[in-house]
């Protein structure tokens, strides 16, 4: 038996023994996610037990080094672990922006002291992080951000405003892009700083989206502070001062890849029950079996062509990456096409849903679930870099067009 197979057997046995029954429902629903943090109320004892057990093993962040609270597993082992968890329908024990975003940034740009200080509480779900990037006047042009961070000797003084900070009202700490040198050219003078939100100078306000509520907030910094060091050697700033744009760019690419990789919604669309069959159930069929609405049928057929080809492209890009081929900027292409496709898919779902899916309230539509999802997709091509920005990137980095 190879090492990997040994690992598989051991992992499976451990999961079988340690994953509580209630956590083995494979529930993927957003409402079941455990986010952790100081404000977190566990939905059940099982949820807490499962988090604690997994955190102890380092398997909430299995790829992180053991010394920082991770599992120290190799890429292959992580895959095996995920496969076994899927197989046993284990829920993910913990999700958070700390795991997705700050962790990778610290692992790449942090000092040993920073990693040792900040990563373990993330892995254990004790501290919940949010991300402070966008500002009201710096949307696609992120680097034009204005949030001010002044050097006050032993501490930093932060003033400004962030927008689209997901779950800021439920988070404990925030990682923020701030301007530490207002005289430097745009992309210089930006730093990546870690701020404790439990202070008077930091307030948040939820943003309501057109689809109803949302996870997003505005976050205000009014004479907020951060010490130069949270502990000996633990600087509040990640990476070099005034070089925060490097960290930001790294995380933006990382985010784009997550979004385009997670274009799994497209995958669902092309799974066994495609749009066409849903439509046939909802709209009905003609004699002969074709969808009763011939022009809608054509729209669906053409969309399914594109959706399937897109799925294959995700597959091909993955395979190319494995083979050491491929173009990095293709994540922009996947992000662009995937999000535009998802919007188109929801337009069609609304078309086929007809008046039944136009009810905003009530049991029948689960308070307008499809309509709210449809509205939510409109943000797909804005967040994480607009479609226009992705097209600019393709034009510049892949096609190398002049002036792009």
């Amino acid at each position: 038996m190879s090492d990997l197979e040994t690992f598989r057997a051991e992992a499976r046995q451990w999961l079988e023994e340690n994953c509580p029954e209630e956590m083995r429902d494979g529930a993927a629903g957003e409402e079941n996610v455990c986010w952790g943090g100081k404000q977190w109320k566990f939905q059940s004892d099982a949820q807490k037990l499962w988090l604690d057990r997994m955190a102890e093993k380092g398997w909430t962040v299995p790829a992180w080094p053991k010394e920082y609270g991770g599992g120290g597993l190799s890429k292959e082992e992580v895959k095996v672990l995920k496969a076994e968890m899927r197989d046993l329908k284990c829920r993910s024990p913990l999700e958070s922006f700390g795991i997705w975003m700050l962790g990778p940034a610290l692992l790449k740009y942090g000092t040993h002291e920073q990693k040792a200080h900040f990563l373990p509480p993330i892995a254990r779900g004790e501290i919940r992080w949010c991300q402070g990037y966008s500002e009201p006047n710096a949307g696609s042009d992120l680097a034009s951000l204005q949030c001010k961070c002044e050097d006050k000797g032993d501490h930093w003084l932060i003033n400004g405003q962030k927008i689209w900070t997901s779950y800021a009202d439920k988070s404990d700490w925030i990682f923020v892009l701030v301007r530490t040198d207002p005289k430097a050219t745009k992309h210089n003078g930006i730093s990546f700083i870690l701020i404790d939100m439990d202070q008077k100078g930091v307030t948040t306000k939820p943003i309501k989206l057109i689809s109803g509520n949302s996870p997003f907030c505005e976050t205000f910094f009014d004479d907020a502070t951060a010490p130069k060091e949270y502990a000996p050697g633990v600087s509040a700033i990640v990476g070099e001062i005034n070089r925060g744009w490097d960290v930001a760019k790294y995380l933006l690419t990382h985010e784009r890849e997550m979004i385009s990789g997670g274009a799994g919604s497209v995958g669902n669309a092309m799974s066994s029950r495609g749009m066409g069959q849903v439509a046939a159930d909802e709209v009905g069929r003609e004699e002969g079996g074709r969808l009763a609405d011939p022009l809608l049928r054509g729209k669906i057929a053409q969309a399914e062509v594109d959706g399937w080809a897109f799925l294959l492209t995700l597959e091909r890009m993955k395979d190319e990456a494995k083979a050491g081929q491929g173009v990095g900027a293709n994540s922009s292409m996947l992000k662009y096409y995937g999000t535009e496709y998802n919007k188109r898919r929801f337009e069609i779902l609304m078309d086929m849903g007809g008046s039944d899916e136009l009810e905003w309230e009530g049991e029948r539509t689960k308070d307008g679930k499809r309509a709210r999802n449809w509205l939510r997709t409109k943000a797909n091509s804005i967040e994480g870099g607009t479609s226009e920005v992705q097209l600019n990137i393709i034009a510049k980095r892949i096609l190398e067009l002049p002036g792009a």
């Binding site: 696609s140 689209w164 057109i210 011939p294 849903g353 008046s355 905003w360 309230e361 409109k378």
Partner: protein, 379 residues
Amino acid sequence: MPLVLTEEQEMLRESAHGFLETKAPVSALRKLRDAKDPDGFSRDLWKEMAEMGWAGILVSEEHGGADFGFVGAGVLAEEMGRTLTASPFLSTSILAATAFKKIGSDAQKQENLPKIAGGEALYALAVDETRKHGPAKIAMQAEKHGNGFKLSGDKTFVADGHVADKIIVAARSAGSAGETDGLTLFLVDAKAKGVSVERTAMIDSRNAARITFDGVEATGDDVLGEVDGGYMALEGVLNAGRAGLSAEMSGAAQQAFAMTVTYLKERKQFGTEIGTFQALQHRAAHLYSEIELVKSAVLKALQELDENYGMAGPICSLAKAKAGEVAKLASQEAVQMHGGIGMTDEYDVGFYMKRIRVAQEMFGDGSFHADRLAQMRGY
């Protein structure tokens, strides 16, 4: 008839524009929504509209109306589209007024048209029974019963059905679902025995209803038009509604586009107004062109209803198909070009996207009407 507004119609537009901007801007709809107003519109405002002659815009002077014809009604609908004004205008002043005017008996006209013009009664048209529009699909039964009928069946997506005093309902007195023959229109009191109305709050913060008819009795006097021959009569009324919705969507699309162009001129990114980006310029210019096409199709449909009511089916389908598709595009481009702010409830753009979604679905979406045109044109 030239494809331009007459001076009189132009004046109507200007006065409507001024009135609605003051009295019924988008913020009024927002307020109704946030207050969870059970009517979903302001009865006071409706009274004012009636006083200005809007409620009876289609009603002849003899019955107390302004008699401005369909172009006049479309002008109002378009302006209401710009401000997303919530009112029973479509259901009462276009659909019901057209029905009584075109197929009502003298007694029905006498009874109902003055009430419409005076804003004294609200009406609703109940047609669809399934999620997608299609009058021929009607299955609701109108069983012969003594000298009259017993009506049984379920209607959905009945605009303003939650507040209507009377309901014009299409039911099947003969034949079976799928056939155009055998439909009859009835005028039913909303409080009649066997009628149950469930208000449905829609995504556009307007309201419709699902209405169940459980053995509701109707006499011969309640029949609107001919027994069994209601399909063409219904089509006429629907065409008027389609043209009205198209005009409304034209107004909504124009306004969403105007907001977008303004934003393109103001919003700065990368050190310059985003309106300087050629890719956005070209998309805006394309959308401008599409909206111009909508305006032409809508005006022609309204004129045709005035001049050639019985033949207006194709042009009303054209207007509905084109307006629906372009208005959707306009709302999508509006959100995308506004970026994050366009996604917030605080900003008005989302209201346009929602209203347009509902209006383009009502009485047939783009696919329905393009298909219908293809059928009419013999392929």
